[in-house]
């Protein structure tokens, strides 16, 4: 369970203060598949970064599985990221020097699993995303869709409770995007809570719940209303 109450995030640069999130409150139950949409610059990535412990919040309360995140130090935050959260990024973010196998291995090594356990998990995750035949390929030798599948395998390898995806299909064509979404649905059905930021309303539609972010504020609304909102903006 993921719970935010009055979360604010302010970015300060020399000249400007950006209120990226203002009084952000929401609760995501275990097993939900939540899509997040909203105009560019509205704060979607900021929300995801805070939810994923990649950034610290300025004020408010964020509880993950009942635990107050702001009390954690850097080491504990790293551990929560490693154990509870899987990330999927728009630009895949595979490590170019490492082959598919070693890429999926990265979070497992930080977890401290032994070699046998790591290999078992890597191969079963690659199996799950349909890339078990290419463990020795390097990211540059794979298509965008395949790279994103490796990234999903990497996110799943640690068996996280939450999967956070920022525009996971943004760099993929429709066909590939659909298949990635099928995969996410499947993962969600297996029990993982997913929060996915997307521009594509058709994809957002496939989530159980739709959140709409505008000017750093969150609205629990179906995506059809966004169209109207975007049109009038």
């Amino acid at each position: 369970m993921l719970k935010m109450k009055d979360v604010c995030k302010i970015y300060r640069t020399d000249t400007v203060e950006t209120h990226a999130l203002r009084g952000f409150s929401l609760a995501v139950e275990d097993g939900e598949f939540v899509s997040v949409t909203g105009p560019s610059g509205s704060g979607k990535t900021t929300f995801l970064n805070i939810a994923g412990l990649l950034e610290e919040l300025t004020s408010g309360v964020y509880e993950l599985d009942g635990r107050d995140i702001s009390a954690l130090n850097d080491k504990e935050r790293s551990r929560v990221r490693n154990e509870k959260i899987g990330f999927i990024f728009q630009s895949f973010n595979l490590i170019p020097e490492l082959n598919v196998f070693d890429n999926v291995d990265v979070p497992l090594r930080y977890r401290g699993f032994d070699a046998k356990e790591r290999e078992r998990r890597i191969m079963s995750c690659l199996e799950r995303v349909g890339l078990a035949s290419r463990p020795k390929h390097f990211p540059a030798q794979l298509s965008g869709g395949q790279q994103q599948r490796v990234a999903i395998a990497r996110a799943l390898a640690g068996e996280p409770r939450f999967l956070l995806a920022d525009e996971p299909t943004g760099n993929l064509d429709t066909h590939m995007a659909d298949s990635v979404l099928d995969l996410l649905k499947e993962i969600n059905e297996a029990g993982t809570t997913i929060i996915m930021v997307t521009h594509e309303l058709t994809l957002a539609d496939r989530a159980n719940r739709n959140l709409f972010v505008r000017d750093g504020e969150i609205h629990d609304e179906p995506p059809e209303l966004h169209l109207a909102a975007a049109a009038t903006a």
């Binding site: 990535t45 995801l48 970064n49 994923g52 412990l53 990649l54 950034e55 850097d74 080491k75 790293s78 551990r79 990221r81 490693n82 154990e83 990330f87 990024f89 728009q90 630009s91 973010n93 490590i95 170019p96 020097e97 490492l98 082959n99 070693d102 291995d105 990265v106 979070p107 090594r109 930080y110 977890r111 390097f138 990497r154 640690g158 920022d166």
Partner: protein
Amino acid sequence: MDIGPIWRAMLRNKAGFVLIALQVAVTLTIVVNAFGIIQERAGRIARDSGVDEANTFAFASVLFTDYEREQRKVLIDEDLDLIRNVPGVVNAVASNSFPLRQGGWSMGVALEPGNQTPESVGTAIYFVDEHGAETFDVTVIDGKNFTPEQVTWSLEDDNTWPAYGIITEALGKEMWPDDAGSYVGKTMYINDNDPVNIVGVIDTLQAPWESWTGVERSMLVPQRRPSEFVRYIVRAEPGMRDKLMPEIEAMLAASNKDRIIRDMTTMDDVRKLAYVGDTALIKILGFIVVLLTLITALGIVGLASFNVSRRTRQIGIRRALGATRPSIVRYFLIENSIVSAIGLVVGSALAIGLNIVMVEAFSLEPLAWYVIPAGVIALWAVGQIAVAEPARRASNISPAIATRSS
């Protein structure tokens, strides 16, 4: 523990690492061999001359008026009497030379009388009276110092060698290798046929030539030589040397106007002059060692910094995937250890090779067993220290990089 993927990632970006490994190898090769030479030279400099160097000085008295032999004897006796009575003087002696002076008298000594054979052993000769031992600060470890009766003036037209001698232990060992510790009472022959009875053995008194392989072999000979040129060696009480030098110079200059006092010098300066080449070599090699190490360290800093910038994104991703700050630092330390290990293994082989060549070519001592291991550890540590700051910067990269830049 993470060596596998770090190593595989390095293979995808070899060039920089190969260069650094090479640099480490060359640095180790040169550094340990330079260190070997430094060590050898420093060892030579560190040898004990036997003299109480800090408190001893020497000078010459040169007559420029014709003196009869007897007059010269009187002058030397007067001079020594004056010097020995100056408060603060421990003792003084007139001798032909002293350790580290680079000039002196050497003779061959043999077990049997007769023409000098190839088996005769070279030794430095110091002509002294019974005050020689104390002035040179040598300990008579066996037998006795000369008695005043044993000390004689050299005779005109008579080259017969005095019948007594005090030898260093090193000379005794060279002459009678099987009779360690019992040289007193033995006889050896000098000047072809003149017997020398060993009356005493002293611990250490170097010959005047520091670069001679027999530098530890010398002999005190109880003879005084009344020449126009007399060399005085004065041993002062601790702290008195610098006060006594001008004082004694002025005193002797005033006591007799037919001679000049010159070549006033401390043993410290004599030592400096004797080892000026060795000291310079040590400094140059030391400078090279430091410079090469520094250049290598900078190379490592440079490559690591470059890699941190190049991998900014990947580091953020690793952080997002659960890497702690220390594990990012560890990544760079391990990576550097791998490069260093390769460089140091290659460097050790090169260092041994170069040492073999140098031992052959310049008849140097081979490197002590610990020099290469010590160099390996030192250069590894330098690498780790060099990489620490870029690694620390890497560990501060925000995990948000993973979502922010594309």
